[in-house]
Symmetry: D2
């Protein structure tokens, strides 16, 4: 995301989705805009809103952050009593405006709009078979595949069409779908990606995360269940299940890093889960130290939990430059080391002579960790003990998360002790998988933990990344 | 075009197309850029180039003039040994970037790119029937319909697919089409819209007008025939006919106004045809006068011809501000009359006390003519005799030209004498339809003259304008 | 001007100025905007408008063309009953937004705004002496020097201050100056640069050229005399002379190329002068030929005059691409020759087998002439006879015109016969200096002809170009 | 700063300055860019860098954030071995690009560049007297006054000129000044605004805050003393004092809010001072509660200090949306209350049923405090006790801080109890002035506390705000 130089070392969520059905007021696009702002952390590459006034669809989508993509003039033109919206992070190969969502098309019944978070593992196969039947594709996104399938089955009614479509597609998906008549929300059979329902007065909202509800003035009703289709129209809300299995495989990274701490995912507070992870880490990897600090912002609750459980005081040790945005000047080689200093500055005054526990939520490549440990020491820290609130990432994700090649995953390539040496820490502790699961209070069977243990919840074609247009 | 205020009174051509097949050098996109620049007069709303390197397709299209849409960086990325390109003028309802061309999509055989000049009269009907079969549409342009049809038939080979597609579509079209293997040019069975073939060394070029060849360093070989498919690939060029009728109905407005004077359309020099029209006008509507002037730029050759035939000297009477571009400040009501003065200024010195023949190529609404006559008189002209090198426009076009509603066509609503009074001219003469036809030297049967006489070359659903997404 | 590649071969005027005093309506900025649009040919690099409501001054200036610099929102904020405006062409060294005009500053009496066309030859010397007294300079333009001088003398009253300032500065200048109380127009003692007065109702306008009056709805009253100060305020208009010599030295290039043909400069129609030049050229350099063509646009009246006097028919031979603007893609070396084709295309149909007289208004470096002759011949012209409506340029200008280094002036480096060979013409004729003077009908003593004969109207420091900040 | 709606309730620092002298490498502009990034919190309206290579000066300045104003291309052109830089926050009246800094001008000795943080109280008076002598002013900033004075005295040498200038000007100033020969840093006689010296290898840096040094790879040497001039040139660094009084009056708001927590101002760690303030607040206003939270970001250390001293656990209660930038859509009236929710979201999970201490660093108008208390309660907080780490702001600042009108200062208009009721808090405690002073460990005599007690360190013309051009 930072042009020219990677300033942090994180896995990337690929999308956030939103849906809103209102009783006719003309604030729909504006409310979606606010909600999208609250989901901005789920994707910073493109943003889009599509609305429908029961007769036609209007939409606007473009590359950029939510406030860059929309202005008053654009929002004013998006008139409709319902709408869906999307923010997207994308791998560089897919980074074209054509791939921005929501996907909007005409089908025999009018217009259909689709917003998708996740990734289909059989998207390419379905594409191929549709092409053999004569279909053409203008984008490389799964939403186009999904819209094509729904359109094909649409003579049987929209809900039936969606059921048939869901029976065909495999992988991870949280969808918001809109036609002239209704707004629908769909979550995949394993609940890999989150989707929840909110209410504002008589109106309903669908969102990837509940943090969107607060800014929209809505309140969380419940999560959409795996395999559930929620349908909202002028007659209210109905729920059906296109499948109902026992298996569940929610992405645990939503708790570790992706979601905002003020979101509640599947009834569990993200903040609380993070704080618990800190408490558990403190038990699994205790250390004698003077100060617990976090790599801001997402590790702060973990650090507070660690401090509480260990009795070591919590404090700030790294100050974040809040003006570092996405556009970033390409540093010349000679300046590169300075450039990476811009984002976080060590707080010498607080570190001098201290034994410091530095809490991070994940280590992907390890480059940032190495730099931070080094800078903490230069700033006077006597010892730096690194504690990580997720286990080592060792496998790629096929369900909507952008993971680097395996040989770039430090957790896959090195032992813990080797990693410790590489990053220069005095000690290093990763939370155990069980510890992480326990931090959520949910049973282990609920989660997909494949990035830590390679046990994918469905058969995937390992080694093959998400398919893109260029393939 | 001009935001806020209409500064001239012309019919609008809706598009220009281009195609280029080279022997592997990497100047393809740049050559298309130059050629597109020469076709800019055919469409100023959006521009696009798609190239293909035999393996993949790359494209770029956006709203704006050719030099606004492309820069060095963009052209550099468009690598391929062949390409097609497009400029577009559009009615306001269709003015979305989604509708910019070339249209590029994946189909079972790879990628297909289509650039279209013209308008299908059964586009909506085909759309509907494809939708019933499950197809979805993301744009409101005919190119998407055409690409869908070709994709459906593509299992029988590209040329067969194109033949089948052409058998289905009705209306006006000059097409350039590109796949991984070949570049194709197609002209509709009546030759409504122009398309010609050029050669540069061993390479072939297709263009709406031959004026593109000069800037590309190519030379005109011949026009594509009505009903012809030209196929260019590594083995050279081949020609087939998907239909071969006797009827022909080329748009005569290409000679009057749309094409550049340095183009040769169907073996006739546009410049020469215009000059002839002036000579004929001089015979049909002689007048005693001191000076023949043109409404710049397209009427200059007509005025020169009129002067030559009448013996009245040619001179400049209206000076054009060459910096008036597309962006134009919305004048306040009180300033409106001044704003329209910006584009053309009368040359008092040359007009004072003179009887002036003002040559215009067409009168559509009549508003500009009225203003010009008035300003010539204010500038000292004793008499203003208006001569028009096309007959009164009385009917709408369904073949790719943007005509205003019939009740805005002054030729349809008023007699010649009423028009003369409205525009304040001392006399008014329109060239006769036969006179216009004669100016080209081609037989009358060759032309569509429907905008003058309502005789459409095929059945059209009168009263219905081009279909758009919002319908 | 054209980034990357020089598409024509002309001397460049450096500025256009404007002034307007109205009786309190709020259209001042908009009227100046229209007037500036009409003066755009005098400078395309930056534009600016300053207004004054009697209490404060508001201004806006930026790099770019008039319609790029101003929009509705900006014009709306420029409220005042009087204003001055400026367009600028600049040599690359001075191309900074700081150097855009009008120059606006506070002085003891309020605010002073200055717009300047021309060039001071003792600007650097005055700057130096002011700096010794402690003054600082933020730009490299003469307007800042002039404003400083006026401010220093302003305790004696504005008109006295201007008189004293004019007594000090040497060189070429047409100035519009504005304070809270009045609008002033000043022309240098030799009348090197033009300035004229117009009237619109009760309001007065000052402009470099009368072509601005037409679009503003004003009429030309008279030229400002050399050495005259015109003062316009609530009590009307008054005229004083700060000097009154017999000598006069107006720039003859205003008639040849700089001014618009619809302007009247010092009572002479620019169009008529150009046409006369054509007639005189026909007598000085007759030739047997079939067609007279112009290099568009400024040579058209010359060609019409040549045709009239010679009896050879006038026609179009070079078609100009009207969409070629300022931004122009940097062609790769291999594409360079094609790039230069974009601006003008030969009209083969009209040229084939003909002996052609090509009229140009000037030859500076000769590069464009060579290319045009070559292209006319490629397009079929049997002979190309070049006739030029100005004598060879052999010396640099120190009075506001951007001339290339002497060794780039083909007229200074080669004989006429050598030039003819270089450009590939069958014959070449330059109008004589006397012929050119005669084309205007004014006495030779009225003009500065230094670029043709090196006789500067005042002592200049030859070899030194205009001073710039970097010197 | 947020267009359309004020999202927080803070006093605004008006500027940050920077200076760098290097031994000839060409990274000067890039290093200044990084340093400026670290000072971005001191001004987000405009940014500028001026460099000097010993012969000429190059500069670039524009409206916008540091990464918006500069890109690689711009930085590449700014070549020089020394430079100064500036970020600016400005009141709306002064918000013109002309007022961006550094101020650069030519004077008799070459070029002089000035960057200023602070505000002169006799700037208008000096301007007036310079104008009487004939000077003109193009901006409304104090830097232009200062540069004029220095230029006037420059015949006596640069350092003498600066001494004379400093003897004339009154008010607050931290200056970096650059000529072709040297870089100078000057701090006002009372040390109202901060300025410090850093070292990187053999090179010297001057900065408003030491946090700039870390990202530049420099280390803090010491603060510039009140009344000191530091001169850096090829011979190294020298220090002189143009005045040496006993009085000192540093702005205490640097510790409360303006400076970054990782800066050391006058030998005191900003972070430590804030944490101390929390500890002192806990003693001055103890309360029985379950959770201490901060209004992020600047109050976090205060909250940690409060938690530590009170024994009440620290936690997060308000989550900041890190994507809220400066551009913000103007909400419609009906949406206004939602819009303000975007920036901070309460963390219900953590607040539910709890008695919460909310720590803020200041209350200016009180509007934000009211909204936050209300939202904390809606999110479930049983009680909300507000503690503020600065005393009530009751008087305007004349030394470079943008304070609202007195009748908008809630501290000036209401009693503590009235404020408590207005913001809806269960209790409200402001740190005492002595408590605040003690948090820094410095003597009370060191500080300007005028905004709390009206005791200005020099006579000011109360009721008159900073002078601007429009006055």
């Amino acid at each position: 995301m930072y042009h020219g130089i990677n300033l942090d070392d994180k896995l990337r969520e690929e999308c956030g989705v939103l849906g809103l059905y209102t009783d006719g007021n003309d604030n729909t696009a504006r409310l979606l805009y606010y909600g999208l702002y609250a989901l901005q952390h789920r994707g910073q590459e493109s943003a889009g809103i599509a609305v429908n006034d029961g007769i036609k669809s209007y939409y606007h989508k473009a590359m950029g952050l939510v406030p860059e993509v929309f202005d008053d003039e654009v929002l004013e033109k998006l008139k409709g009593h319902m709408g869906i919206a999307h923010v997207r992070y994308a791998t560089s190969e897919e980074s074209y405006v054509e791939n921005a969502q929501p996907f909007v098309a005409r089908y025999r019944g009018g217009t259909i709009s689709v917003a998708h978070n996740g990734s289909l593992i059989n998207g390419k196969k379905i594409r191929d078979s549709l092409e053999v039947e004569g279909a053409i594709f203008q984008t490389s996104i799964d939403s186009e595949v999904i819209a094509n399938l729904i359109a094909r089955y649409s003579n049987e009614g929209m809900n039936k069409a969606i059921e048939k479509t869901m029976a065909l597609i495999e992988g991870a998906y949280a969808l918001t779908i809109m036609t002239e008549e209704k707004l629908l929300g769909v979550r995949d059979p394993l609940g890999l990606r989150p989707l929840c329902l909110g209410k504002m007065g008589n109106n309903y909202v669908l969102a990837s995360e509940s943090c969107a509800f607060d800014v929209m003035g809505a309140t969380l009703v419940r999560d959409i269940e795996p395999g559930e289709i929620v349908t909202i129209d002028k007659d209210g809300i109905t729920s059906t299940f296109y499948t109902k299995g026992d298996k569940r495989a929610s992405c645990i990274f939503e708790y570790i890093y992706f979601s905002r701490p003020d979101s509640i995912i599947d009834n569990v507070s993200v903040y609380e889960a993070r704080k618990n992870a800190g408490r558990i880490l403190a038990k699994q990897y205790p250390v004698e130290a003077d100060l617990v600090i976090a790599v801001p912002d997402s590790s702060v609750p973990v650090a507070i939990g660690y401090a509480e459980a260990s009795g070591i005081p919590y404090g700030e040790g790294l100050i974040k430059n809040k003006y570092i945005g996405r556009t970033f000047i390409q540093p010349k080689q000679s300046m590169r080391e300075l450039a990476v200093r811009l984002k976080l500055s060590p707080l010498s005054e607080n570190l001098e002579g201290k034994r410091v526990v530095m809490i991070d939520d994940s280590i992907v490549r390890g480059t940032t960790s190495r730099r931070l440990v080094e800078r903490l020491k230069s700033a006077g820290a006597k010892e730096v003990h690194v504690r990580v609130s997720s286990p080592p990432v060792v496998c790629s994700c096929y369900f909507g998360i952008d993971t680097p090649d395996k040989n770039q995953l430090i957790g896959a390539m090195k032992t813990i002790e080797e990693i410790r040496k590489t990053i220069g820490a005095d000690s290093l502790g990763y939370i155990s998988t069980d510890g992480l699961v326990n931090s959520t209070g949910l049973p282990k069977e609920n989660f997909c933990l494949a990035c830590f243990n390679g046990e994918y919840p469905m058969a995937v074609d390992e080694g093959k990344e998400n398919e893109v247009l260029e393939d």
